[in-house]
């Protein structure tokens, strides 16, 4: 990790810490300020919990951000709530259809086929995919079509009910994705770093409904195919169960980091920037910084 700039040190209002934990936290804070400045971020939210050291640390973690595709974790939770209750089968077939209803004035809308990254789902238009397959593509390739289909299957109220049942504050899910009328009406899904952290900790600990449900969710999240966020700041051997979120002005990643020889840590990084700037590598830089702070002595291979 690059050394801190003199400028960042001068701005830091915290005196040097004496013990190692406090020292690490001060170091993290300095580096976060530096990364935020280097990447000209408009906003940055971070929260992590390390099961090995039991350290929990956050920065701006209760501020709401546009959720982008991190909201798909909440949909996954809603799906597995229904599965766990026996009200939905993972093998149930779902008609793949590109037609949805806006939460504003109930008008129908279709997804832009060119924007979705997942032809695996579009290729089944008019046919079926199972709930399990849709959940897999929703998370691993962030398929918007799969997401909206699952929202239709379980209902947005069920998703919010799941969040409420598990006392997850900081995750607000109003709708599926690409509902342009809702976007224009500022009706967006929002998350805080602490909200996503709570959700991921429950999943990591096997406490989001059943252990089986958590194991199934983790199995899907471990197959994530977009790895430019948290994984890009980690050694190659690290396994990360995570979900990214990108729109033109935000880049997020929220995940559980598994490293050999230690308990996992849960990390959420939310970034917001101006539309003309592009997303850069801020998430990976923060991830690298936190890895070095928590577990960098385990493996120097980056």
């Amino acid at each position: 990790m690059p050394s801190n700039s003199t400028q960042a040190k001068e701005r830091l209002p915290i005196p040097p810490a004496q013990d190692s934990v406090a020292s690490a936290e001060v170091s993290l804070y300095r580096n976060v300020l530096r990364i935020r400045q280097e990447h000209s971020l408009l906003d940055l939210g971070i929260s992590f919990y390390d099961a090995e050291t039991t350290i929990q640390w956050s920065y701006n973690a209760d501020q709401y951000f546009h959720a982008a595709s991190t909201m798909k974790l909440a949909i996954l939770l809603g799906v597995f709530r229904q599965v766990d209750r026996g009200e939905l089968s993972l093998e149930a077939p779902v008609h793949v259809r590109n037609r949805f209803t806006s939460i504003v004035n109930r008008e129908p809308f279709m997804l832009d086929l060119g924007r979705d990254a997942d032809p695996d789902v579009y290729g089944h238009l008019g046919k079926t995919l199972t709930v399990r397959e849709l959940a897999y593509w929703m998370i691993t390739k962030s398929s918007n079509l799969a997401t909206n289909l699952l929202v239709d299957v379980v209902g947005i109220n069920t998703v919010q009910l799941a969040l409420d049942e598990l006392d997850i504050d900081g995750v607000r899910v109003l709708r599926g994705v690409e509902d342009q009328r809702a976007f224009e009406a500022h009706l967006n899904n929002e998350v805080t770093a602490n909200g996503l952290l709570k959700m991921l900790r429950l999943i990591a600990d096997g406490k989001a409904y059943s252990q089986k449900a958590c194991d199934d969710m983790l199995e899907i999240m471990l197959d994530q195919q977009y790895r430019s966020g948290i994984p890009a700041g980690l050694p190659k051997a690290a396994r990360v169960a995570h979900k990214t979120g990108n729109i033109s002005t935000v880049h997020h990643d929220a995940g559980i980091v598994y490293l050999e020889g230690r308990k996992p840590y849960v990390l959420v990084i939310l970034t917001q920037f101006s539309a003309d700037q592009g997303r850069g590598t801020a998430v990976a830089d923060v991830s690298r910084d936190i890895f070095n702070t928590l577990a960098g002595n385990l493996d120097g291979d980056e």
């Binding site: 149930a92 008609h95 590109n98 129908p108 008019g126």
Partner: protein, 232 residues
């Protein structure tokens, strides 16, 4: 009654839905009156083909190019019991298949019926109002040949072909109002056609078996009559 409720027609077993178990009768609602979106009342079909297995559905050809399987594909919105075999489909599905075969020939390409696009039971989650899908006499087509029907031009082109085939065929015009229009598929239907197989003697409708109501709604009404009305 001398007549058996189960007959065999052209390799398919015909059942009188009144003879099915309580759960199936509650799902299929044989003979019940339902309202369409305009408030008009229609009586649901009573005679169904029983399809024993997925293999039977695949191998049962209604016409040269349409197998039974294609007209009973549903997703999780269908009642769970009807997602299992044996499956049931109103006998009028045969007439639909006949017209679909003509339509296929007129299009000069394969016609793909979508999931939930053929028979949908009255308990299907898309069955809020009565539609001919509940009679097995409607089809939603999402793809013809290699063309996915997602544009106004394509849907209107094939709507014209379907309408030219017969005055019996109704298509939904292109548009965005669910139930009245279609904007991502072609909907064609024959109306609320009921087919009574020739093996069936309809006198049973007039003289139901002892202790068996003629229609499920009559059973419920009888119960209602036995239950004193609650006082306000």
């Amino acid at each position: 009654m001398a007549m058996s409720s189960v007959e065999v027609t052209q390799g398919l077993k015909v059942v009188d839905a009144f003879d099915l178990d309580d759960e199936l009768r509650a799902i299929l609602k044989p003979g019940e009156m339902v309202r369409d979106a305009q408030g008009r009342r229609h009586r649901l079909p009573r005679y169904f083909y029983e399809i024993a297995s997925h293999e039977a559905a695949l191998s049962t050809r209604l016409t040269t190019h349409f197998a039974m399987n294609e007209l009973i594909l549903n997703d999780l919105r269908e009642a769970p019991r009807l997602q299992q075999y044996p499956r049931y489909v109103p006998c009028a599905v045969r007439i639909l298949a006949f017209y679909l075969e003509q339509f296929r020939a007129a299009c000069g390409a394969s016609v793909h019926i979508a999931v939930n696009g053929g028979y949908r039971s009255p308990s299907h989650k898309l069955s809020s109002d009565a539609t001919p899908h509940m009679w097995g006499t409607a089809a939603d087509v999402y793809r013809i040949g290699s063309s996915i029907l997602k544009t106004k031009e394509l849907i209107e082109k094939y709507n014209d072909i379907a309408e030219d085939l017969s005055d019996d065929i109704l298509v939904l015009p292109y548009g965005h109002v669910t139930g009245a229009n279609a904007d991502d598929h072609l909907h064609l239907d024959l109306g609320f056609v009921t087919l009574i197989p020739r093996e069936i003697s309809e006198d049973r409708m007039e003289q139901p078996q002892e202790n068996r109501p003629r229609f499920a709604f009559e059973e419920r009404r009888a119960k209602d009559r036995r239950t004193p009305a609650a006082e306000d």
